[in-house]
Assembly symmetry: C2
Homo-oligomer: 338 residues x 2
Amino acid sequence: MLTERQLEVVFSVVYEYIQTGEPAGSRTISKKYLRGCSPATIRNEMADLEEMGYFYQPHTSAGRQPTSKAYRLYVDAIMQRRRTAPAETEKWKREIGERKQGIESILTYVSRLLGQATNYVGVAALSALEEVQIQRVSFLRLGGNTVLLLIVLEGGLVHHSNIQLPCELSQDMLDELGRRITTIAEGHSWSEVRDVLFRYVLDGLERVWDTCREAIVQMDALLNRRSSRLFIGGAQHILSLPDFQDIGKFQTVLSLLEQEQALAEMVERYSVKQGVSVTIGDENTEEDMKQLSLVLVPASGQSRRAILGLIGPLRMDYEKSIAILETLAEDLDDMLVQ
Amino acid sequence: MLTERQLEVVFSVVYEYIQTGEPAGSRTISKKYLRGCSPATIRNEMADLEEMGYFYQPHTSAGRQPTSKAYRLYVDAIMQRRRTAPAETEKWKREIGERKQGIESILTYVSRLLGQATNYVGVAALSALEEVQIQRVSFLRLGGNTVLLLIVLEGGLVHHSNIQLPCELSQDMLDELGRRITTIAEGHSWSEVRDVLFRYVLDGLERVWDTCREAIVQMDALLNRRSSRLFIGGAQHILSLPDFQDIGKFQTVLSLLEQEQALAEMVERYSVKQGVSVTIGDENTEEDMKQLSLVLVPASGQSRRAILGLIGPLRMDYEKSIAILETLAEDLDDMLVQ
DNA sequence: GTTAGCACTCTTTCAATGTGAGTGCCAATG
DNA sequence: CATTGGCACTCACATTGAAAGAGTGCTAAC
């Protein structure tokens, strides 16, 4: 267990490093944070704390940098405190309110806003879509066996995909199929009606049983493949951070962002039902994320399952990030419930 | 008018600069391209050509770099030649063929493929959507006055937007409205039926005339706002080019790519009905594009109006880029016609 | 337990220097 | 008269070495 003073030293080093990006030396800590102790005292504490795995030195005669372990201590501490949202919040709230073009456009906008406000990468996700209520299902004949499958989820979220059916159906047949599925599925989530559909929808359609079955298989595939949707915004801003002046590091981030599917799964995995989730560096299982942190906040809006988040460097300003995310998550809730 | 030898010098310098990225000196040109002339001769020619605006020197004692004017000469020349597609073409063709999930997913994939194959930024666009045949129009009630407007265009391209109507309509009413509009619009492009709709669809709906009119206004807005759709891929690859080692230059590109609307308009503006369009550096009106080149090739597939393109540095390998674009544009044609 | 002092280490910065690539110009050449 | 070899000059870039500065670890004194 750490002494009171050791805790203070850890917090000071983390805070100083977050602010400046430079390793913190004993003199600085003594002068700016622990006036009661001389640099020498701090040095002793630092040596102990380094041994315990809270700090490391980039080279022999540099100050200390915090490890993930130190950040974790720091983050756990600030989670206790009450955070205040930045002043721009009200402006954002208004700007989001003006966008009445549907969830997707709102989330695209919010992810950009997040990126711009923090200089980190903003993410917004709709997760567990198989739990969202279905509003309508239609099939449209595109020619030959190719059919457009259209699924509208609650709140106006549209999923669609071109699918191939084993046998050619007329548009009338397809309409009938869509109507039947909609009748059963409307107001329920896919996970609720999935099995029902496989069993019952086919009554009276024996002649095209295989084809209809295939249509439902394709629905299942679409909702599983896109079981969450991800919106990423403002990636260009992190280039202005000193942490990403090195081209290589930025390239890592960029190729991470291209793997939308993997990212979406990661977001879903780390987010917790309620409250803030912070995953720091090493704590990430993904290799590309070990030098990055991920902060996630779910928008509590009942069924919509939106998640807002930020991806940033280890030394991201967690306090500010969490405050912004929490505020926007609340706003979003208002927006989505309408 | 330039002499034969002057032309050769221009082509050599452009070619050498494209290959190496280093300003070309008189000695190099003499040794690698114009063995018959001594460096001194080349120097004289170069001095003349610099005066004519084909070259410039980054500093007094460096070799020459081509200006946009020189690139233009070079590009016009290679357009005469027959170009051969790279070997990987067949593999790509197969890979694209396996993606039967609709135009959008194909174009996303193609844009990434383009980026990866060239190390430039791949773009794929669907332009002039107001000219594409409409297949179905539906309205779905989301709650209150908010309605989901769904437009399916030929080939399974889906447009949707949440809209606000002045007055609340029942789902039955909305279905009726969708049906009427679909009946009129099916098989025609928006530009064809736009006026007809404004005039005739409202017969017998006097009671909700305003609301229906608003719905059509919103359709018009959606199809105008998104009159083209843009897919961008492989932006991370240009980081491996020496031209973008400078963070600042890359940031320009990145913020350019975020302005999807403006980019889409640019693509539409520069692309020509048939054949390759190359816009080099200064020739672009957009400030952010003055250090970049844009190569566009339309996929001739009748009504689909797809455009493939690449955004790269001034010294991009135009020959290879054009060859790849032409090949994929043909393939795409096969894919889209199905 | 805390602190001052000191030697030591390592990075960063700066100027000085040399090197090499490339030019422009001029006089000689065929 | 176009072409060429020669030569002085310019400029970027890499190398070096010295000095400065930040920070540490250790020890002895308080």
